[in-house]
Symmetry: C2
Subunit: 459 residues, 2 copies
């Protein structure tokens, strides 16, 4: 079967009609064959009551899978409207520990405890409670307890027995970890190698010892970089002294990668939180207003700067012509420089150059771009402008602004990163606005001196 | 072992010294324990001769793995300096077909044929030649031929035998595909289920029939969305009528996701090609100049627009104060609106609203943000500006510009997408510049009428 479910407005209307008619069979006929991720997409479009009706029709395992796939706000609304006992017994029971911890972790503390108290499987509730202790942006917060570990001295046949015992609740199992008697992680075996090996072979001889692992406190971003770099499907997590605690699967890390990329993209596009075009007007407005307000403030400061030169402008109004050009170019160059650093940091390709070397290089790039752009502008103005002072002012200012913004745009994200602040902030509104205003100031200052020099104007 | 190899300038210096001294043992001691991905990082920092020296020390399988991990330009330089026969026998022989096709595909056609002619394994060379036919941005270009398929009527024990036969050359094997006698894909089994099943059980009864597959021509971006949405580790690829042709692994798709995100990020930050801060000055300049030139052109057009209003500015130079504010806000709002659409398209969360509804929503958002921003500016100017005409002009213009840019910023990427053009282009320099200039024009036009009305100025 090729998968090509595509959610449409018609489909939603159809299912809403069935729900209103309380047609359980009809509703189930529509959704029962769908993948949980597709059902979750449908739920995201329904209101809480409609979703609840549909949800009660699903069996335990499927409803747990759908719950995992729901958007956070939809899920939270739904869970808060559902008794803790049902959440515990119908849904959490069926989930991997990491998914369960993620979902419970978003709820109010009281509700969390209520749900945990209703889970009967003591091992499962212990695992979830353990995982709730880790920061969600670390390896501990990403890992699940659903791994299979075998003892280095066992043979293949005993290992398979153990897999049989441990793996019953595990959906996805690709590697088996090898530990010593104190549970220290010492290697791994792929299921493929287990299948292809003789029953009597000892695990130690099959185990690959170059196992890559992280600690619980490793940041999620670093986990993503490691799994991407080394092409891993699962990554074991160990404690400070190397004992195996859990494993991270690639699907969770793909989500981390997506979120990281989105966060950087949102910052550079001036949006403050995770919104989608399908969100509500209020959310969309709220996510966009902060940058606009900073931009507004920047614009007002710019107006203040220009107003200091009002008398100049009254005498040579043509100075105003190039105000947008200078402001825009400063902002553009700054964003370019910052974004290269931000992206290199994000995909771990910053290289081994020192900051001084990077700056020197950036200066050269700024010099070349500045030279080319100012020369073009110079030629344009030689033909188009009557005022030598303006011609010279515009080109010198542009050159200076481009060099300045290049350096500034490189230094800021590197500095932020050194102080463990998200370097992507440098691509946000504040720095851009500062670049705009400084460019403006430079332009008007240089202009005043040039007019004094070339035209003998004295202000 | 915890993995924490971190490349440093010192390490590179050390290895360069060893290479210069032709110290094979010393060099190997430094790198032999490292992961291929780490060795590739080292190679990226060396020149071709140094890399070649080191490369010859690695054994076949490791050198193949390193080759796969190298940056494209470094790899191409290296391969062009290496005899085709060595490439074929030492490296390509050891690679999965998809990696081999990716690497060969980047080379000149003549070199490709030379390499293929030196591969002795007929099946392998056939697989690679097949894969070279697919566009690299499609499922066909991503897939490899290294899958294991079992017949639906076989039992577990025969399947394991078949895995033993087929899986020898396959590093990563997590699922076995189930086909009928005509090679139609009808299901899959996880290795875990195979291990846990009785030897005599028939594959058909174990097989999960809700297998998700794509066709060879499915675009790479869509493959990424599918694997992410359904949390897949491998994805089978079929031909037009459903016959199994190959499989895509998640690590290749992670790379696609990263590239997609980077492409969008580069467009919005005004960079035209894939550069990193460690690239050469010339590359960095070249990647940044195009947007700066478009920005420059925009600035010149802006200057032309303002120059039409030179006489106005001579009379009321305070109009110039708010030129940067209006231009910047138009650009900002446009980018915000476009980027939300671009991101929603990228992660497939555009929802099921019609374009008309989206526009209506965007109008409302623009209305709210425009109202808030213009009101703040109005209050500011009531206290700070002496001229009623300016006060009114600035607020009305800002309001109009925000609404206009919102609509424009939403429509453009949706339109581009409908015509199968990358919607992220809407966040690039062209549209932003158009927004800037239109904002400027609006402002100056409204200003002229307001001054005529309030001050009786006649221009």
């Amino acid at each position: 079967m090729e998968k090509n479910f595509k959610l449409t407005r018609e489909f939603i209307n159809q299912i809403e009609d069935l729900i209103e008619a309380k047609d359980e069979q009809g509703s189930m006929a529509l959704i029962s064959e769908l993948h949980p991720a597709d059902i979750a997409e449908i739920f995201d479009e329904l209101n809480t009551d409609e979703a609840k009706f549909l949800y009660m029709l699903l069996d335990g395992e499927k409803s747990a899978d759908v719950l995992i796939e729901l958007e956070e706000d939809v899920r939270e609304r739904f869970l808060l409207a559902t008794p803790s006992e049902i959440i515990a017994k119908e849904y959490i029971n069926e989930m991997d520990s990491d998914d369960a911890a993620d979902i419970i972790g978003d709820l109010p503390e009281e509700k969390q405890e209520e749900i945990l108290s209703h889970i009967e499987d003591i091992e499962h509730v212990g695992d979830i409670a353990d995982l709730l202790n880790y920061d969600e942006d670390t390896a501990g917060g990403l890992m699940g307890k659903e791994y299979v570990a075998v003892h280095e001295d066992w043979d293949v046949s005993k290992s398979v027995q153990e897999i049989r015992r441990q793996a019953e609740d595990i959906d996805e199992l690709y590697y088996v970890y090898v530990v010593n008697k104190d549970n220290y992680l010492i290697g791994f075996i792929s299921l493929k190698d287990l299948i292809l090996s003789d029953d009597k072979q000892v695990v130690k001889t099959l185990s690959k010892s170059d196992v890559i692992s992280v600690r619980t406190e490793t940041p999620a971003e670093e986990v993503a970089v490691i799994m991407e770099k080394y092409n891993l499907v699962t990554l074991p997590v160990v404690d400070n002294i190397g004992r195996l605690l859990g494993r991270i699967t690639i699907d969770d890390v793909v989500d981390v990668m997506r979120e990281e990329a989105e966060k950087d993209y949102q910052l550079i596009s001036g949006i403050t939180s995770d919104v989608e075009s399908s969100d509500k007007i209020f959310q969309l407005t709220k996510a966009r207003l902060p940058w606009l307000l900073i931009g507004l403030l920047g614009g007002i400061l710019g107006a203040q700067v220009i107003s200091q030169y009002e008398s100049d402008l009254a005498i040579y109004p043509e100075m105003a012509f190039f105000i947008p050009l200078i402001a825009a170019m400063g902002g553009n160059v700054g964003i370019q420089s910052s974004s290269i650093i931000v992206q290199s940091l994000a995909n771990n390709s910053l290289g081994i150059e020192s900051t001084a070397r990077k700056l020197l290089k950036e200066l050269s790039v700024g010099f070349m771009n500045g030279f080319i752009c100012s020369s073009i502008l110079l030629i344009y103005n030689i033909f188009m402008s009557d005022t030598t002072a303006l011609t010279i002012t515009v080109s010198i200012s542009l050159f200076t602004v481009i060099i300045f913004a290049s350096v500034f745009g490189t230094l800021i994200p590197l500095t932020l990163n050194r102080f463990k602040v998200d370097p992507a902030l440098a691509t946000g509104p504040f720095i851009t606005t500062v670049n705009d205003i400084l460019g403006l100031l430079l332009y008007l200052m240089i202009g005043r001196y040039m007019y004094m020099f070339f035209e003998g104007v004295n202000i």
